[in-house]
C-alpha cells in the first residue's frame, strides 16, 4: 500500500462555505466520503507500538481500525464494519468523539506523521466510520454482536447524569452484561452534548442516534430525575449494586463585578441552553425566547466561548470575544478558533472586565475593561500570568455572554452528606474512581472540574471496569 513517496499533507474534508453557514446552524464540516477516507488512511505508517493510541484517553486501537479501512478498499461495507468493531471495543460513541475531541492535543499530537508533515486526520476518520456505518445499516448488524448477554444479567448499576461520562460508563457496563439505569435531570439526555455544544459542531440528530444505540444495548434512561431531590443517593444504593456519578460541572461562574444583573447579560450556559436544548433560534416556532442585540461581547476564550460567539453570530449579531490573556493562551480547539475567525468573530486580547454599564431601562450598553499585560512568570497551569496596567477601555455592547468557566453543581453533594468533596466542589475519588462512599464511583467534570468530553469518557470507561470488579468481588463469598 505505502507508495514510494511520503504523502505529507492531509486529504482535506469539505466545509460549508462561510457565507452560507453563518445564516444557519447546519454542521460546518461535511466529513470524508469513502474514497477520501481510504486515501487518508493510506497515509498511516501503522506504527508498533503506536503513540497515537497512548494519546487517546480511551486507547482506541487507531492503527487497527485504519488498517481495517484500507484492507477492504473494494468493499466499503466490510471495511467500515471491521473498523467500527475495533472502535466500539473501546468507545461506543465515535460519531461524537470524532467531532468534538481536541485531537490536536490527544491522538493526533504524538502521530509520527506530524513530525514530517500533517498528522493523520484520526478524528475525521473515526467520524467517517461511525457516520457511514449508520447511514448504511452496518451499525445494526454489529449491535447484535455487542448485546450478547450469554452470562445473564451481572447486576444493576445506577448512573447519575447522561453526559459523556455517564453515557460511556453506561455503554461499557451494558456491554459487560449489566442492567444500567441512567438518571437525568433535564428532559433530554446528553448533558453538555445536548445543551452546550451547538448543532453546527454536533448535530442533535447524531447525538440522538448515539443515545438510541445505548438503549438498544439495554440501557434505560429516566428523565426529569434530579438525584438529590427526586431520589436520594441512599435510595439508589438500596436498589442498585453500584452507582456512578457523572453530574459534570454545570454551575456557571459569574464575574463578581458591578452590573452583573443587568438585562441581556447571559451566562454561556443559559445562552447555549436556550439555543441548543430549547431551540430558541427557531422562536416563535419553538416557545423559548431569546433576546440578542446588535453587538455582542463574549467574555472568555474556551470552547464554550467559541460556541456562544458563533451562535450569537448566527442570530445576526456582531460578535467580539474579549479575553484577559493573549492569543496563544486561548484554550479552545484550534479548529473552532479558525472557524470563528472565518465567520467574522472579532478578537480582543488582554482585556479584563471590571464593570458592566447599563442604560436607564436596566439593559447592558457597554463593558468597561482594564487593559492587561503578560508577565514572564507562569501559573500552575503553565499559562503566563497577567497584571493590570491601570489603563481602561470601554466597549459598547447590548448583549454580553459570560464564558469564564463552570464548577460542579452542589445538589447531590449537599444532599448526600457522606460524599466527600474538595474545596472547589469536585468529588474526592481514589485511584479506582470510587468516592468516599463504598459502591459509589464518579468521573468526568464532577471530579475534574471543567475539562473535556473525551476525558469524561475515559473516566466513564475506567469506572465501568472498576464497578465490574467491585461488584464481582462483593459477590464472592468471603
Amino acid at each position: 500500500m505505502a507508495g514510494p513517496k511520503l504523502i505529507k499533507e492531509r486529504v482535506p474534508t469539505p466545509e460549508v462555505p462561510v457565507e452560507e453557514r453563518i445564516k444557519s446552524f447546519v454542521e460546518v464540516n461535511l466529513g470524508y466520503d469513502f474514497v477520501s477516507a481510504v486515501k487518508e488512511a493510506e497515509r498511516c505508517l501503522q506504527c508498533n507500538p503506536a503513540p497515537c493510541i497512548q494519546g487517546c484517553p480511551v486507547h482506541i486501537n487507531i492503527p487497527g481500525f485504519i488498517k481495517a479501512l484500507r484492507e477492504n478498499a473494494e468493499s466499503p461495507e466490510e471495511a467500515v464494519k471491521n473498523a467500527l468493531r475495533i472502535i466500539w471495543d473501546d468507545n461506543t460513541l465515535p460519531a461524537i468523539t470524532g467531532r468534538v475531541c481536541p485531537q490536536e492535543e490527544q491522538c493526533e499530537a504524538p502521530c509520527v506523521m506530524g513530525k514530517a508533515g500533517e498528522p493523520i486526520n484520526i478524528g475525521k476518520l473515526e467520524r467517517f466510520v461511525a457516520d457511514y456505518a449508520r447511514k448504511h445499516g452496518i451499525e445494526k448488524e454489529l449491535l447484535k454482536e455487542f448485546t450478547s448477554t450469554e452470562n445473564g444479567v451481572k447486576g444493576k448499576v445506577a448512573v447519575v447524569g447522561s453526559g459523556p461520562a455517564g453515557l460511556t460508563c453506561a455503554g461499557e457496563l451494558a456491554k459487560m452484561g449489566y442492567k444500567v439505569t441512567i438518571f437525568e435531570a433535564l428532559h433530554k439526555p446528553g448533558g453538555v452534548l445536548v445543551y452546550g455544544i451547538p448543532e453546527f459542531r454536533l448535530p442533535k440528530e447524531i447525538l440522538d442516534r448515539e443515545i438510541a444505540k445505548l438503549k438498544e444495548l439495554g440501557v434505560e434512561i429516566k428523565l426529569d430525575h434530579i438525584v438529590g431531590k427526586t431520589v436520594t443517593l441512599e435510595e439508589l444504593l438500596e436498589e442498585y449494586d453500584a452507582v456512578f456519578i457523572g453530574t459534570g460541572a454545570g454551575t456557571p461562574k459569574l464575574l463578581n463585578i458591578p452590573g452583573i444583573l443587568l438585562d441581556r447579560i447571559y451566562t454561556a450556559n443559559e445562552f447555549l441552553t436556550r439555543i441548543n436544548l430549547m431551540k430558541a433560534y427557531k422562536f416563535p416556532e419553538y416557545d423559548e425566547p431569546i433576546s440578542i442585540g446588535k453587538k455582542t461581547i463574549v467574555i472568555g476564550a474556551g470552547n464554550t466561548a467559541m460556541d456562544a460567539a458563533r451562535s450569537a453570530l448566527r442570530m445576526g449579531s456582531e460578535v467580539t470575544i474579549a479575553y484577559r490573556r493573549g492569543r496563544e493562551d486561548m484554550t479552545a480547539r484550534i479548529e473552532e478558533i479558525k472557524h470563528a475567525e472565518e465567520e467574522g468573530v472579532k478578537f480582543e486580547f488582554f482585556l479584563n472586565p471590571v464593570e458592566f454599564i447599563g442604560d436607564e431601562n436596566g439593559k447592558v450598553k457597554a463593558v468597561k475593561f482594564e487593559k492587561m499585560r503578560p508577565l514572564e512568570e507562569r501559573d500552575a497551569k503553565g499559562k503566563r500570568k497577567i497584571v493590570g496596567t491601570g489603563e481602561y477601555i470601554t466597549l459598547e455592547a447590548d448583549t454580553v455572554i459570560i464564558a469564564i468557566g463552570l464548577e460542579p453543581n452542589k445538589i447531590i453533594s449537599e444532599e448526600a452528606t457522606g460524599l466527600k468533596t474538595n474545596p472547589d466542589g469536585t468529588l474526592v475519588v481514589d485511584e479506582n474512581l470510587m468516592t468516599s462512599i463504598p459502591g459509589v464511583f464518579a468521573g468526568g467534570d464532577a471530579i475534574r472540574g471543567e475539562a473535556t468530553v473525551i476525558l469524561a469518557m475515559g473516566d466513564g470507561k475506567k469506572a465501568a471496569k472498576a464497578i465490574d470488579e467491585y461488584i464481582q468481588k462483593k459477590r464472592l463469598p468471603a
Binding site: 428532559h187 428523565l223 431531590k229 444583573l261 438585562d263 447571559y266 443559559e270 430549547m278 416563535p284 452542589k410
Partner: protein, 290 residues
C-alpha cells in the same frame, strides 16, 4: 415516565387546575418546593408549584394562571387523559418548618396556590396562620381549602369593571393590598409576614411591612430555564450577594432582596412574550394550532 392529566378544570377565571399522575414528585415534594414543566415538544420549561399531592396515589395538582402562550396553550390543547411531556422535580428548598408564632401569609392573584401548602404545614406544626388573598373577584380560588387549613383566611377582592386593563387591575391590587396589610399588621401583630405574588406586588407589600420592621420572607419568581442551578437565569441579588433562586431559594428575606433589579429582570422578555402570545393567537384564529 408518563404524566397523565387525571383531571382538568377551570377553578376561576383564567385559573386552571391540573391533577397529574407524577409519582416521583408526589413521593418527595415538600411545601415550598416547585417543579419545572414542559408540556409540548416545541415548548418551553416553566416553573409551577404543586398545590396538593398524594404520595400513595401518586398525583399532584398544579394551578396555572393563563398569562401567556404556554399557559394558554396548555389550556387549549391539553385535556383530561392527555399527557404532559416532562415534569422535573421537586426543586428548590422546602420552606422552613419552624414555630414562628403568628404568621401573616399573603398571596396575590394566583400566588395563593404557592401559599396554600406552606400555610397549611405551618398551621399543622403549631403556628397561628392568617392567610390573605389579594385578588380580583372572578379569580378567587382555594377559599374553602384555606378556611379549613388555617386559623383565619381573608379575601381582599374587588369586582372587575368594564375596560379595566392590567395596569388598572394591578394598581387596585396594590392599593387595596397595602391598606389591608396595614390594617392586619396593626390588629394582629404578626411575628412573620410571608408573601407570594408578582415581584412588583411583593415590593409594594414589603414597603408597608418594612415600616413596622416585622420579619418578612418572600418566594421569588425570576425567569427560570433549567431550575437546577446550571444557567443562572434566575439570579437575584440578596444581601449584596448573587444567588440562584432555583437552588438557593425560592424563599428569601425580603429585607435583603434587591427589588429594582428583580423587577427589571422579570420583565426582560415582555416583548418576546407578547410576540409569542400573538403568534399563537393568530394560529388559533387560522385554525393552524396543533
Amino acid at each position: 415516565m408518563v404524566y397523565e392529566i387525571l383531571e382538568k378544570r377551570e377553578i376561576a377565571a383564567n385559573n386552571v387546575l391540573y391533577k397529574i399522575h407524577a409519582p416521583h414528585i408526589a413521593r418527595k415534594v415538600q411545601p415550598g418546593q416547585f417543579v419545572v414543566v414542559r408540556a409540548f415538544e416545541n415548548g418551553e420549561r416553566i416553573p409551577l408549584t404543586p398545590v396538593m399531592w398524594d404520595a400513595e396515589e401518586g398525583w399532584i395538582t398544579l394551578v396555572t394562571f393563563i398569562r401567556g402562550r404556554t399557559t394558554l396553550r396548555m389550556n387549549m390543547e391539553l385535556q383530561e387523559g392527555d399527557k404532559i411531556l416532562n415534569i422535573a422535580g421537586p426543586l428548590g428548598n422546602p420552606a422552613p418548618m419552624k414555630k414562628f408564632g403568628k404568621i401573616l401569609a399573603i398571596g396575590m392573584i394566583t400566588g395563593i396556590v404557592e401559599v396554600y401548602p406552606i400555610a397549611k404545614a405551618w398551621q399543622e406544626i403549631g403556628n397561628e396562620v392568617i392567610t390573605l388573598h389579594i385578588v380580583p373577584e372572578p379569580m378567587i380560588i382555594l377559599k374553602e381549602d384555606l378556611e379549613k387549613a388555617v386559623s383565619k383566611h381573608i379575601v381582599e377582592s374587588f369586582p372587575l369593571k368594564e375596560g379595566m386593563g392590567m395596569p388598572e387591575i394591578f394598581k387596585e391590587l396594590v392599593t387595596r393590598g397595602q391598606a389591608k396589610v396595614r390594617e392586619l399588621i396593626e390588629k394582629e401583630k404578626p411575628d412573620l409576614v410571608f408573601m407570594v405574588g408578582p415581584a412588583r406586588g411583593q415590593k409594594a407589600i414589603f414597603d408597608v411591612v418594612k415600616e413596622y420592621g416585622i420579619p418578612m420572607e418572600v418566594d421569588l419568581h425570576p425567569i427560570m430555564v433549567d431550575g437546577t442551578g446550571m444557567c443562572g437565569a434566575c439570579r437575584v441579588t440578596v444581601g449584596g450577594e448573587v444567588k440562584f433562586a432555583c437552588v438557593d431559594g425560592p424563599s428569601f428575606n425580603a429585607y435583603e432582596v434587591n427589588w429594582e433589579e428583580l423587577i427589571a429582570r422579570s420583565e426582560f422578555y415582555a416583548d418576546l412574550e407578547k410576540k409569542a402570545l400573538e403568534d399563537y393567537l393568530t394560529k388559533l384564529q387560522q385554525g393552524g394550532a396543533q
